[in-house]
């Protein structure tokens, strides 16, 4: 079994485990490459249809092309999509100018929390990866979260032999990370192999492309001439700088992501 197939099979097993063990699971879809690959894996696991709703946290600061892509895929793949925003914070004028971490906390974490609570989701799948960022490198595949949404990273339960913690803490939910062990390059190679459609922002236009997609004020494109998936794979093989170097969140504070994620951020 080759490397990508091994990763794929592991992820499929995890996805099926979620379906078998949880009452009301959902999948977070940011429209980015990782969660789109995850969505593809779900369609594989469930033989063509995705039996759980997708959740999109709309900060209203996303690049418009992402929303177009989202709606197109939802139509074509017949997906159930739940979109939610933190309306109050938006009405009060929340934005990166109020502080980047505050903005992420209000427009992402809090909006996400409300969706989970309102829909009573007991498991949420996310397309995060270890190699993205320091605090994510210490995650579990199944990560139980209490009612306050917090990540008890110093008290994570053991996860051995693919026996996952599937018990939902009272009032809480379980975060599931089916592609935790994939790398950025794995994801692109998989997109190439499977022919998964991704949003056009990843491809170079006028010498620039997005390597990582977040909200428009906090994501910078990189210099690149890669205009196909194959060229992106080729480019990444020679790339030294890590993926999130273009993300403003991580620069705000040495442990910004850890702090955000302790409070329930993705």
């Amino acid at each position: 079994m080759d490397h990508l197939t091994r990763l794929e099979q592991e992820s499929i097993h995890i996805l099926r485990e979620v379906h078998a063990r949880f009452r009301n699971p959902a999948m977070l879809w940011s429209i980015g490459k990782d969660s789109t690959a995850l969505l593809w894996l779900a369609r594989k696991a469930f033989l063509g249809r995705c039996p759980m709703p997708l959740v999109h946290v709309d900060t209203t600061l996303k690049i418009p092309e992402m929303i177009e892509h989202r709606d197109k895929i939802v139509r074509e793949w017949q997906l159930e999509l739940v979109v939610g925003s933190n309306e109050e914070a938006l009405a009060a004028g929340m934005g990166p100018a109020s502080g980047r971490l505050e903005c992420c906390g209000a427009l992402k974490t809090e909006a996400f929390r409300r969706i989970v609570v309102n829909h009573g989701f007991d498991a949420i799948m996310l397309g995060i990866r270890r190699d993205e960022e320091r605090s994510r490198s210490k995650e579990r595949v199944f990560s139980p979260r209490g009612g306050d949404f917090s990540w008890e990273y110093k008290e994570q339960p053991p996860e051995i032999w693919g026996q996952y913690n599937v018990d939902v803490p009272p009032g809480g939910h379980v975060r599931v990370h089916p592609i935790l062990d994939w790398t950025e390059l794995d994801v692109w190679e998989y997109i190439l192999r499977e022919g998964i459609p991704v949003v056009g922002l990843y491809f170079a236009r006028n010498g620039k492309r997005y390597r990582s997609l977040g909200c428009s004020p906090c994501t910078e494109p990189i210099d690149s001439s890669a205009s196909t998936v194959a060229e992106i794979v080729e480019e990444l093989r020679g790339m030294r700088v890590s993926e999130r170097a273009g993300r403003a969140q991580d620069k705000a504070d040495a442990y910004a992501m850890q702090k955000l994620r302790t409070g329930g951020y993705m």
């Binding site: 079994m1 080759d2 490397h3 091994r6 099979q9 499929i12 097993h13 099926r16 485990e17 379906h19 078998a20 369609r43 594989k44 696991a45 469930f46 033989l47 063509g48 270890r130 190699d131 960022e133 320091r134 605090s135 490198s137 210490k138 579990r140 139980p144 990273y153 110093k154 994570q156 339960p157 053991p158 996860e159 051995i160 032999w161 026996q163 996952y164 913690n165 018990d167 939902v168 803490p169 062990d181 790398t183 030294r240 700088v241 890590s242 170097a245 040495a254 442990y255 850890q258």
Partner: protein, 620 residues
């Protein structure tokens, strides 16, 4: 491309594991410049030169305290081969994290600080490697700079380290003196240790290969789920050993029923006609068998009898000790059951040299060998025969709290008959007094009427009325009342899901004995879970069991509240109260529904008597 090799780096706290991994990544040019810059900056803030460990220890607490809290995995390429390296924590407090990181390793690097020697976690980790099934290791004697690059120290410590590993059943592939901090003997030969002519750490790593599964190659698959697509039922699971193809005959365990593989289902496009180890498949079988999660589909030649007990070797990772006799949840593959340790034959502290302790409990970080009793039979094999069917975890409350391997199958306790419908009193033909003889003397059939419903719905009242009527008519009848049994037979049980399951199991078993003895048994207990009631039903013949749903709106039950329980539950004084803070799963197809919101007591009892009359048991 060659297959990936996963290595776990283990050893006592502070012996230099993270530094070693960071150094390897750094010296082979596999660290992103922005990440290196970050580690450098954090090191400088602490008044230090570059701490290579910071390349792995990503949490703020890890960097501030200079200790690894949780494991991480990193990719590593060398000589064109892909590796995954798990950097495990060495602090005793984080043993559960070490186990999590090591659980899928092919081989290990055991790091020993030359100035400290073999310590408690060095020993413990070595012993646990044996339990994890990791068979090969490299010993690294690190911090050689601290002992003046002494060949004597190296010889002494490598001897001790080898001893520790080999007595845990781990083969020592190589033993390297190094300084991770200074990069000596890491990727190139050290000028300080000219006396050493063995491999560098990198060369030692390259000598490790992906572990070859010791399993025999017969087909085994755990049923993870069953998907329905239109009329088709697809059995979903992962091939754990061997392979399977269209046309193969397979056996479904524990039932032992056989069927043939008709097709595989896949997306996008048709699935191939065969599948190998590690693949997740969706299989269509020729006969619509009763397949469900937890069963095992396997080569029919595999003697996979369900077990009621097995001998195991396990490590405890809970916050408090595991106690003999206490009930935990056991998960083995997709199977799940309540389980308890019957007895330990040996409990050891793997951190100390041959330290054996009392066998009444298993403290955190200790290893025990003993017999585990299962509430429900489980299909398992010895770890040596099949890894996937030979290892299990124990769950305490909401958390995985221990893990172990199956070492022996306790055949004397094997339970071949999963349904256990057999006549209990069978003996030599002709002289046995059986169920039939008892029924014929009583002049009536014997069976179990299972009343289920919310607290206050009227189960006990109905049961008592029916009992009185039947008794007066000369029927051998007996009521098993949930509340009454909880003060005796089930006094050790609480109201967790697992305890409720066990409660139902015991009452069903008691009922079965009474039915065997010729009685009409009426059980009155909430029995909130469908699955448990289904299991209860499976203990009886088809004409020996009738489920009666005593239906009553919860508002009405609450207004009756004969025992004042609802008031308590609402105030929070009674946690896990069915209908309020715990689920009640209504029966889907009971033999009878008795609606006590509409019927009075007499009419409700009448409905049950009518049901019994149809089975030839008359209250007149």
């Amino acid at each position: 491309m060659t297959a990936e090799t996963t290595l776990v780096v283990l050893g006592h706290v502070d012996h230099g594991k993270s530094t070693l991994v960071g150094r390897l990544l750094h010296d082979t040019g596999q660290v992103a410049p922005d990440r290196l810059e970050f580690a450098r900056k954090r090191s400088r803030e602490q008044g230090r030169d570059l701490e290579f460990a910071f390349l792995l220890d990503g949490l703020s607490e890890e960097q501030e305290q200079g200790v690894t809290i949780d494991f991480t995995l990193v990719r590593f390429q060398a000589a064109g081969r892909p590796f995954v390296i798990a950097d495990a924590p060495g602090h005793r407090e984080f043993l559960r994290n070490m186990m999590s990181g090591a659980s899928r390793a092919d081989a290990a690097l055991l790091v020993v600080d030359a100035s400290e020697g073999v310590r408690e976690q060095t020993r413990r980790h070595a012993v646990l490697l044996g339990l994890l099934g990791v068979r090969h290791a490299t010993l690294v004697i690190n911090k050689m700079d601290r002992v003046d690059w002494s060949a004597d120290v190296f010889r002494r410590l490598s001897g001790e380290g080898r001893e520790v590993l080999s007595s845990a059943g781990v083969t020592v592939a190589s033993c390297v003196p190094a300084s991770a901090l200074l990069g000596e003997n890491m990727i190139s030969r050290s000028a300080h240790m000219a006396w050493y002519d063995g491999p560098t750490v990198l060369e030692a790593i390259l000598a490790h290969q992906p572990a070859v599964s010791p399993d025999d190659t017969r087909f085994r698959m755990m049923v993870q789920d069953v998907y329905r697509i239109g009329e088709r039922r697809l059995v979903v699971g992962r091939v754990e050993s061997g392979s399977v193809k269209v046309g193969d005959t397979v056996a479904l365990r524990p039932s032992g029923e056989r069927s043939r593989v008709v097709a595989f289902e896949g997306w996008p496009g048709a699935a191939p006609g065969s599948a190998g180890t590690g693949e997740n498949v969706a299989v269509e079988l020729a006969d619509p068998l009763f397949a469900e999660r937890g069963m095992v589909v396997a080569d029919p030649s595999l003697p996979l009898a369900p077990l009621r007990a097995f001998d195991a070797r396990l490590v405890w990772l809970g916050r408090n000790a595991l106690n003999v006799g206490e009930r935990y949840l056991l998960r083995l593959g997709c199977q799940e059951t309540g389980a308890r340790v019957l007895r330990f034959s040996r409990v050891i502290n793997p951190g100390e040299v041959s330290e054996t302790v009392g066998t009444a409990s298993l403290p955190p970080g200790f290893v025990g060998e003993g017999t585990i009793l299962l509430d429900r039979p489980v299909v398992a094999e010895e770890f040596a025969a099949c890894q996937a069917l030979g290892r299990f975890v124990l769950v305490d409350g909401c958390r995985v709290a221990g893990g172990g391997i199956v070492c022996g199958l306790s055949p004397e306790m094997a339970d071949e008959s999963f349904g256990t419908r057999a006549d209990l009193s069978t003996g030599p033909a002709g002289i046995a007094v059986g169920r039939a003889e008892r029924r014929s003397r009583n002049g009536h059939h014997s069976m179990c009427v299972w009343l289920t419903g919310l607290s206050g719905a009227g189960k006990s009242t109905i049961a008592r009325r029916v009992e009185a009527r039947l008794f007066a008519a000369g029927v051998q009848v007996y009521v098993l009342d949930g509340d009454a049994l909880r003060s005796g037979l089930c006094r050790d049980l609480g109201f967790s899901q697992m305890d409720r399951t066990e409660n139902v199991r015991r009452v069903a078993e008691a009922a079965r004995i009474l039915v065997d003895a010729g009685f009409v048994v009426i059980t009155a207990l909430i029995s909130p879970f469908r699955e448990d009631r289904k299991r209860a039903r499976e203990r009886f013949g088809e004409d020996e069991f009738a489920e009666v749903f005593v239906r009553c709106p919860i508002e009405l039950c609450e207004s009756r509240d004969p025992k004042g329980l609802y008031v308590k539950a609402r105030s929070g004084a009674l946690p896990r109260f069915t209908g309020i803070s715990d689920a009640y799963e209504q029966p889907e197809s009971p033999e009878r529904v008795v609606d006590t919101g509409v019927l009075d007591e007499d009419a409700a009892a009448g409905a049950v008597l009518e049901l019994l009359a149809k089975r030839g048991i008359s209250g007149n």
